[in-house]
Symmetry: C2
Subunit: 487 residues, 2 copies
C-alpha cells in the first residue's frame, strides 16, 4: 500500500470513530456510555498504531524519494504527512497514555471544582496537565517559547510572536469598541417578543436558511445536542448540531449558521482527497473564519435580515409587529458578561486575549498555577472594568485546560480576524456584494470554495489569507467591521 492509500485507510478508521462520537453526543442511550468508550478506544489505538508504524514511515520515505516535485499538490501532501508523522511519532506511548489518564481525571476534578467554585481542588490537575504540555512542547521542539509548539498543532507554522503582535494591536481598540458598544446597547430596546417559539418551527426555519447559504442536506444533516458542533463522518457526510430555546429562536439559528459555516468548509474540501492533507481543513483559525463569516458577517447583517425577516415573521407570528430595527438592535446587543460562551460579538475577543496571555505565562513559567485566579481577575478587570464574582465565573468556567487543550483559545480570535478579512476581500467583487444584498449567497460561497475550501491543507493558514486577500492576517478589517456595526 502506498502512503496515500494508507492515509485513506487511516481516515476510514478516524471517520468511523467520528461517527461513533457523533452518535455519542446525539442519540446514545445513557447506560451505553461505557461500551462506547471501549469502542472508541479500540479505534483510536488502531489509528495510532497505524500512523506511527515503521510501515508508515517506510512508505512515506519511499514516496518522498520518488517525488520529483513536479506535482505541487503531491509535494504538499507529502510535506504535511511528514509533519503529522513527526508530531505523532515524537510522543512516546507512555506520555500519550499518561496524558489521556490525566485529562480524564482532570475533567472530573474540574467539573466538581467549578460546581463549588473551588480552584484549589483543580490546581494540582492543572499543574499535571501543564507539565505534560511542557513535556510535549519540548519533544516537538519550538523556536522561542513552549506555546509555539502547542499552537503549531492547531495553527500550523504560526508563531506565538505573530499572534502576540496581532493581539497587541487589537487590545486597546477592542476595549474601547466594547465599552462603547455596551453603552449604546444599554440605551436601546433589546428583548425579543415573548416565546414560545415552537421548536419544530425553528427547525424548519433553520433548515431553510442553511440550505439558502448552500449547506447540502444530501451530504449532511442537523441534529440536536446540548452544545452545538460540526463533525465530518466522511467526504459527503457533514453533521451539524444546535440547541433549542423556546424563548428565543435566534439561539438555535445562530448555532446553525455558525456550524453550517464550518460545514460549508468541510463540504467544499476536495472529496476525492478525503484523508489526505489536500482534502482536510488547514487549521482551526481558518475553520473558525468560515463559521464566523456566515454567522456574523452574513447572518447578523442588516442585508441578511432585510430579506429573511418576513420569512421569520411568517414562521413566528409573535414577531409580526416587532420592527426590523428592534430586531437588529436585539441581534447587535452588547453586554459585559464574565462568561465567554455567553459573550456577544462586540466583547468576545477580550475573553480570548485574557486566556491567551495567561496560557503563555503558565507555559513559560512566569505564572504559577496557584496565582491563576488572581491573574485572571486582574486581567479581566483591566479589560472589562470589573472582576468576576468568583472563580466559577472566572478561571474555572471553561473546560479547555481541563482537557489539556492549551494553545487552542487563540484560534477563536484568529478566526474572527480571518473572517472579516476574507469577507471584505470577497465583497470587493461587486457581483458578490450585490448578490449578497439580494440574498443570493452562491457567488460568495463560490469565492470561498475557490480561495479557501478547495486548497484543503496544501497552503499554510497565513499564506492562504495572503493569497485570498492580498495581505497577511491583520486585524484592520475586523476592527472596522466591529466599529461599523457597534458604534
Amino acid at each position: 500500500m502506498s502512503i496515500f492509500e494508507k492515509a485513506r485507510e487511516l481516515a476510514l478508521i478516524q471517520s468511523s470513530a467520528a461517527a461513533l462520537e457523533w452518535d455519542q453526543e446525539t442519540y446514545l442511550p445513557s447506560a451505553a456510555a461505557g461500551h462506547r468508550a471501549a469502542q472508541l478506544s479500540w479505534l483510536s489505538s488502531r489509528a495510532h498504531e497505524m500512523a506511527t508504524s515503521d510501515d508508515w514511515r517506510r512508505d512515506l520515505e519511499a514516496a518522498e524519494n520518488a517525488d520529483s516535485g513536479s506535482d505541487t499538490k503531491l509535494t504538499a501532501n507529502l510535506r504535511e504527512l511528514r509533519r503529522e508523522f513527526g508530531r505523532s511519532n515524537k510522543l512516546p506511548v507512555e506520555l500519550v497514555a499518561r496524558e489521556s489518564v490525566a485529562c480524564s481525571m482532570s475533567k472530573h476534578a474540574w467539573s466538581a471544582a467549578r460546581e463549588k467554585s473551588d480552584f484549589a481542588s483543580f490546581a494540582p490537575h492543572l499543574e499535571t496537565l501543564l507539565e505534560i504540555a511542557r513535556e510535549k512542547a519540548e519533544l516537538w521542539g519550538y523556536q522561542n517559547e513552549p506555546y509555539d509548539a502547542l499552537l503549531d498543532g492547531y495553527e500550523r507554522r504560526t508563531s506565538t510572536a505573530a499572534v502576540v503582535k496581532l493581539f497587541e494591536v487589537m487590545k486597546l481598540e477592542l476595549r474601547e469598541i466594547a465599552a462603547k458598544a455596551v453603552e449604546i446597547s444599554a440605551s436601546r430596546r433589546t428583548s425579543l417578543p415573548a416565546g414560545p417559539y415552537p421548536i419544530e418551527a425553528q427547525k424548519r426555519f433553520n433548515a431553510q436558511v442553511a440550505a439558502a447559504i448552500g449547506f447540502d442536506f444530501e451530504a449532511g444533516r442537523i441534529d440536536t445536542t446540548a452544545h452545538p458542533f460540526c463533525t465530518t463522518l466522511g467526504p459527503r457526510d457533514v453533521r451539524l448540531t444546535t440547541r433549542y430555546m423556546e424563548a428565543d429562536f435566534t439561539s438555535s439559528l445562530f448555532g446553525v449558521l455558525h456550524e453550517a459555516g464550518h460545514g460549508l468548509y468541510e463540504q467544499g474540501l476536495p472529496a476525492e482527497d478525503f484523508g489526505l492533507p489536500s482534502g482536510s481543513a488547514v487549521s482551526l483559525g481558518i475553520h473558525e473564519s468560515q463559521s464566523r463569516l456566515w454567522e456574523n458577517h452574513v447572518g447578523r447583517s442588516r442585508e441578511f435580515w432585510v430579506h429573511w425577516y418576513p420569512a421569520a415573521q411568517e414562521c413566528f407570528p409573535q414577531m409580526g409587529s416587532f420592527s426590523l430595527d428592534h430586531f437588529l438592535a436585539y441581534l447587535w446587543r452588547a453586554e459585559f458578561s464574565p462568561i465567554r460562551v455567553e459573550a456577544d460579538e462586540a466583547t468576545y475577543d477580550m475573553h480570548i486575549l485574557l486566556r491567551f496571555d495567561l496560557e503563555r505565562r503558565m507555559l513559560n513559567g512566569s505564572l504559577t498555577v496557584k496565582d491563576v485566579p488572581t491573574a485572571w481577575n486582574d486581567g479581566f478587570r483591566e479589560l472589562f472594568g470589573f472582576a468576576p464574582t468568583d472563580d466559577r465565573h472566572g478561571c474555572l468556567q471553561d473546560i479547555h485546560w481541563a482537557m489539556g487543550g492549551l494553545g487552542y483559545f487563540s484560534t477563536y480570535t484568529l478566526g474572527n480576524i480571518n473572517s472579516a478579512q476574507l469577507f471584505a476581500a470577497a465583497r470587493k467583487d461587486v457581483t458578490i456584494a450585490a448578490a449578497i444584498d439580494s440574498a443570493n449567497y452562491q457567488p460568495l460561497l463560490g469565492w470561498l470554495r475557490k480561495n479557501v475550501h478547495s486548497h484543503g491543507g496544501t497552503i499554510d493558514p497565513s499564506d492562504l489569507i495572503k493569497q485570498a486577500t492580498e495581505s497577511l492576517p491583520s486585524p484592520e478589517a475586523y476592527l472596522a467591521h466591529l466599529k461599523s456595526r457597534y458604534l
Copy 2:
C-alpha cells in the same frame, strides 16, 4: 490475550459496525453511502482477519486444553467458539469475496427485476448464489442435504428433517385455519376510523407501551426507518426502529411490539458476557419467538387491549366511539395476500412453508432456477387457492435469496411455533397469567429472562425449548392459539 479477551475485542469491532449500520438505516445523508460502505468493509475485514487467525486458533486450543469441564458455562462458550471458528475458517477468503460481489450484484439485479416483474433477468444471479450456497454447504459439511448446513448457521444443530416434520404436521391444518379465518374476517367490520393518527402521538403511545412491557430506554431507543428492525450496538445499547402510517397507528405500534420483543431478549442477555456465546442470542428461531410472543400473544390479545384501549382512545380521539370489539376484529382481520410482509398472523406461515419447500428443492437440485416461477405459483395455489398475478407478487417479492439468505425463511415459522409454546408454558404459572391479565408484564418477562434470555447461547435452541416448556418444539400450542383466536 486469552480467547475470551479476543472474543470481546471482536465484539467491539462488530458492534462498531452495527452502530455504523444503524446510522446507515436511520440518519445517513444520501450522498454518504459510498464512504459508509468503505468504513463497514474495513471493519468487517478486521473482524474476519481476527476471527480466522492462527492466533485465534492457538488461543482457542489453549483454552480447550486447559478446560477441566467443571465450569459448564466456560465449556459451552468454548464449544460454541470452536463451532463458529470452524464455520468461518472452512470458507476460503476467495469464496467469501466472491459471495460478497455476487450478493451486491444480485441485489441490484433483483431490485430491477422485481420492478419489471422480469424473473429471467434475475435468474442467472440466483443460479450463482445457489452455486455459492451449495459450495458453502459442501465445505461446512452436512448429514443429509445441503439445507442442513445452511440452516445450521441460523438455527444451530437443527436438522432439515426435523423442520420438515414440523412443517408437514402443520400444513393441512394451517391451510384450513387460514381459509376459515379469512371467511370469518370478511363477514366483520375490519377498518379503523379515518386518520390522521398524528405521528408524534403514535410515538408517545408506542414508547409508553414499550416501557410497560419492560423495554429499558436507558439502554435503548426507538427511531424511524422504512423497514422496522432491532439491532444491538453494545451490552446496554439496543436500538429499535419502526415506521409510521398516518392512517393507522397500529402499524407502528406492532412494529414496536415486535422489535421490542427482540430488544427485550437482547437486554436480557448477560451484559458481562457481551461478545461471548453465553452473552449472545442462540438462534433466529428463538429470537423470533420473543418478538412474536410480545407482538402476537401479548399485544394482539383481548386482555392486552382491555387495559390499553382507553389509553389509545385518549391518545387518538377518533377511536373514542369505536368499540373494543370492532378494534379487535380489525387487529384479527385475516386476508389472503400474495405478499408475505403484508400477511397477517393467520396466513403468514403458509408463505414460509412455500419458500422452505422451494429452497430445499433448489439446493438439492430437484428444482432448477428457470422453473422457480411455475413452482412458486403452483405451490402458492395449492396453499391459497389462487396464484399471484405476476412474479413481482410471487417469487420476486423477497430480498432474502438475492442477498444469499438461503435457509433463513424457515426460522420465521420456528419462531411462531416457539412463541406459542413458551407463552403457554409461562401462562401455566397462575401468577404470571393473572399478572398479564391485569397488564403487569413483569412476571412474564421474569420468566422469559430466567428460561430464555439468561442462557444466551449456552444451550441449543431445541434443548432450550425442552427445558423451558417440558417438551421439544411442536406446533400444537401454536395451532391451538391460531384456532382459538381466529376460528
